[in-house]
Amino acid sequence: MKDAFGSPQSLLILGGTSEIALATARRLIARRTRTVWLAGRPSPALEDAAGQLRSLGADVRTVPFDALDTGGHEEALGKVFAEGDIDVVLLAFGVLGDQERAEAEPAEAVRIAGTNYTGAVSAGLVCARSLRVQGHGSLVVLSSVAGRRARRSNFVYGSSKAGLDAFAQGLGDALYGTGVHVMVVRPGFVRTKMTAGTAPAPLATTAEAVAEAVGTGLRRRSEVVWVPGALRPVMTILRHMPRAIFRRLPV
C-alpha cells in the first residue's frame, strides 16, 4: 500500500532498463519500496539493473516483456499482479528512433509508433484493469514535451508521444473515482543514453530530476508533471505559436 505521502511499497517498471525509471526506483527504494518488478526484454542490461536495485535492499524480480508483442501483454503482466498488489506502475519504455531513417523507411516509423504508442496503449490498459480491481495504485506514464507540438526534427517520435499523452489523459479520466490515479510526466530533454550524441535542448534535465518530480507528483497525486516545471509556461507559448514562425525556430 502507498503511505500517507504516496510512497509505494511495490513498483512495476515497464521498460526495466530505462534510466529514468531506474533513478525513480532508487529514489522510491530509499523510502518504502521493497518489491520491484522489472519488465523488459531479457538481456544482460535488465539483469544488471535488477542487481543494482537488489543491492539497495529491494526484492527485485524480472519479467519478460516486449512492448511490440502486444499479444503477450496480458499473460506477462497478469503474472505480476497475481503475485500481489502493485502500488505504482511506471510505464517507461520508449524509443527515440532515427528520424531520417524513419522518413526513408516507413517500417522504422511503424516500429517507433508501435513501441511508444500501440505498445503503451496495450500495456496501459492491461495494468489499468488490474489496478482497478485492487482499488488503489498509480499508473505513471512517461510522456514528453515532444508530444506537445510536432517538431520537424523528430516528429515521428513526437507524434507517438502525442498519442500516448492523449491516451494517458483519457485513461486518467476514465479511472477517476476508482481509486486508481494516472499521472502523465512530461520531461523536456533528458540527458540519458537515449539522447547521447544529440545536442541538448534548452531547459535540459536529468533522470534524477525526473525521478524527484515523480516522487513529488505521487505525494500530491498530480495529474500532470512537467520536468523542469518551467517547461509548462514555455510549452504553452510554443503550442500557440503560428506554424509559419514555429517552423523557423531552431528547435
Binding site: D3, D85, H136, G179
Partner: protein, 456 residues
C-alpha cells in the same frame, strides 16, 4: 466519505481516514441487523472487508482497497441500560455522542472519551481508545464487560476479558472480526459540567514536573503544548485538568437542570480549502495567542463537557482546514524514565518548525491487556502535521527510530506511514496476533489497507 445509503445498500466509494490521505476505493455495505452483517461477511469476496464506524481513525485502518468496507453505523441500537449497576449494552455502531445524550440525564457518563465524541463503540474497542483519564482509568476496553464478535466463520461469539480473543480484539484494529455489540461499565456523575483548573507551564521541564507531581489529584488531565516555541520556551504548555462537577459546585440557576447535555456546534469548515493555510507563521501566531490567552492559573472554572473534552467537535469537518493534501497525526508513547527521548523529540519538532497547532501531551497510567493496544505507562505526545510538508516522511521515520529505541510505540489508529519493519519492535505481541488471525481467519476475510501496509 459521503452520506450512507439505506439499509444494506451497496455502493462504491473512495474512502480515506480522517487525515484525508491515501484514498482507496471500496464497496460500502451498511448492515442493519446481525443477519445482514453475517451475510455481508460471508459475501465479502477475495479482497476481504473491514468494519468502519464514523471514520475518525486518522490513517488507513478503516479502508480496504478493492474490497468491502462495512459501515457499522446502521447497527445503532442501545439495548439496555442498567441504571443501578451503571452498565450499558449497545450495538457497535452507537457513537459516544449518542451515549452521552442518553446517559447523562440518567447520571452516567462514558468511562473513557477521546478528543471527539464521534467515535463508535465498535471503533472504541478496535482502537482501544484512551482519554484524559488514562492515568487513573486506563483505556476503553478495561471497562468492557463483554462484546459480541462476528468472526470469519460467520459465527457470533460472546467474548469476555481474560481470553486471547478479547486481548487480540482490544486494539486489534478490527482485524479479528466485526464487533457487533458491547456491554460497557459507566461512571456516575452528578452534573454534566466539569470543574477545571488551568495553569501554564513555562517549558518542558516545568510541564513534566507539574504533571508528575499533581496528576494523581485529577481524574482528567491534559496539556496543550506549543511545539513551535523554541529556545527557553521549548515545550511551553497549558495544562487543563479537572473532574466532574459535584451538584453543590453549580450556581443556583444551573442546579435546576444539572444533567443537561448541550454541546455547541458551529458551521462546518468549507470544502476545497487550499493547502498551506496552516503554515508555520499562521500556526505559530495561533499557538502564541493560545498560550497567552490561557490564565497563568485559574481553579474551579465550570466548563461544559463538550468544551472540556471535545473542543474540535464544535466545528464539523475541521479536518478540511488542512486542504486537499490532508494531514497526518503523529502520536507516540515512551515509558517513564525515557524523558530524555521525549525531550529530544520535542526539540527536533520545534527546531524543524513543524506547523503543528494544539499538540497534546499526556501522562499515561498502566497499559491494558490488548496485544496491539497502544497506551502504556509513560508519556504520550500527539500532533497534527500537514502531509504536504516536504521531507516529512523521512523526518517522522527518524522520530520513529528514536521512539522504538526507547521501547515506545506509535498509535496504529492514527498511523498512515509507519515503516512495517518497526511494527514488531513497537508491538512485541504482533507475532501472536498474526498467529491468532491465521488460525481464526485463514482466508484473510478481515483485511484493511493498514493490515496490508504493515503486514499485520
Amino acid at each position: 466519505m459521503a452520506s450512507p445509503t439505506g439499509p444494506a445498500g451497496t455502493r462504491t466509494a473512495s474512502v480515506t481516514g480522517w487525515g484525508r490521505t491515501a484514498p482507496t476505493t471500496a464497496r460500502l455495505v451498511r448492515p442493519g441487523s446481525y443477519g445482514e452483517a453475517v451475510a455481508a461477511v460471508r459475501a465479502c469476496g477475495a479482497r476481504g472487508g473491514i468494519a468502519r464506524g464514523l471514520g475518525r481513525a486518522y490513517g488507513d485502518a478503516a479502508q480496504n482497497a478493492g474490497g468491502v468496507v462495512w459501515d457499522m453505523t446502521g447497527l445503532d441500537r442501545i439495548r439496555r441500560i442498567d441504571a443501578e449497576a451503571g452498565v450499558v449494552e449497545c450495538e457497535a455502531g452507537v457513537s459516544l455522542h449518542r451515549l452521552m445524550e442518553v446517559l447523562l440525564p440518567l447520571g452516567w457518563f462514558v468511562p473513557v472519551s477521546p478528543g471527539t465524541r464521534y467515535v463508535t463503540v465498535g471503533g472504541a474497542v478496535g482502537a482501544d481508545i484512551h482519554g484524559k483519564n488514562h492515568h487513573v482509568a486506563g483505556s476503553f476496553t478495561r471497562h468492557v464487560r463483554s462484546f459480541e464478535l462476528l468472526t470469519a466463520d460467520g459465527a457470533v461469539r460472546t467474548v469476555r476479558p481474560g481470553t486471547d480473543l478479547f486481548d487480540a480484539t482490544a486494539g486489534g484494529m478490527g482485524l479479528t472480526g466485526v464487533v457487533l455489540a458491547a456491554a460497557v461499565r459507566l461512571v456516575p456523575v452528578q452534573t454534566s459540567l466539569m470543574t477545571v483548573d488551568t495553569e501554564r507551564a513555562a517549558d518542558l521541564d516545568d510541564l513534566l514536573a507539574r504533571l508528575s507531581a499533581t496528576d494523581h489529584r485529577y481524574r482528567y488531565s491534559v496539556a496543550w503544548i506549543d511545539l513551535l516555541a523554541r529556545g527557553a520556551a521549548t515545550g511551553r504548555a497549558v495544562l487543563t485538568r479537572g473532574d466532574h462537577a459535584p451538584l453543590d459546585a453549580l450556581p443556583a440557576r444551573a442546579r435546576r437542570s444539572p444533567l443537561a447535555f448541550r454541546p455547541g456546534r458551529l458551521p462546518p469548515a468549507p470544502r476545497g480549502l487550499p493547502d498551506g493555510l496552516l503554515g508555520r507563521r499562521s500556526v505559530g501566531l495561533f499557538n502564541a495567542l493560545w498560550y497567552r490567552k490561557a490564565p497563568r492559573r485559574r481553579t474551579g472554572e465550570l466548563q461544559r463537557i463538550s468544551t472540556f473534552f471535545h473542543p474540535l467537535d464544535g466545528v464539523p469537518h475541521w479536518n478540511r482546514v488542512y486542504g486537499r493534501g490532508g494531514f497526518v497525526q503523529y502520536q507516540f508513547v515512551v515509558g517513564h524514565g525515557e524523558e530524555e527521548t521525549l525531550r529530544r523529540v520535542v526539540e527536533r519538532i520545534a527546531a524543524r518548525g513543524c506547523p503543528s497547532f494544539l499538540a497534546v501531551l499526556k501522562r499515561f497510567g498502566a497499559g491494558g491487556s490488548g496485544w496491539l493496544s497502544f497506551p502504556a505507562a509513560g508519556w504520550t505526545l500527539a500532533l497534527d502535521i500537514p502531509a504536504g510538508l516536504p521531507g516529512l516522511g523521512a523526518f517522522l521515520d527518524e522520530l520513529d527510530e528514536a521512539v522504538a529505541a526507547a521501547g515506545g510505540r506509535v498509535y496504529l489508529a492514527k498511523d498512515a506511514r509507519l515503516r512495517p519493519e518497526l511494527v514488531d519492535v513497537m508491538y512485541p505481541r504482533a507475532p501472536e496476533f498474526r498467529e491468532l488471525r491465521e488460525r481464526l481467519d485463514p482466508r484473510g476475510v478481515f483485511t484493511s489497507d493498514l493490515s496490508r501496509r504493515l503486514a499485520l
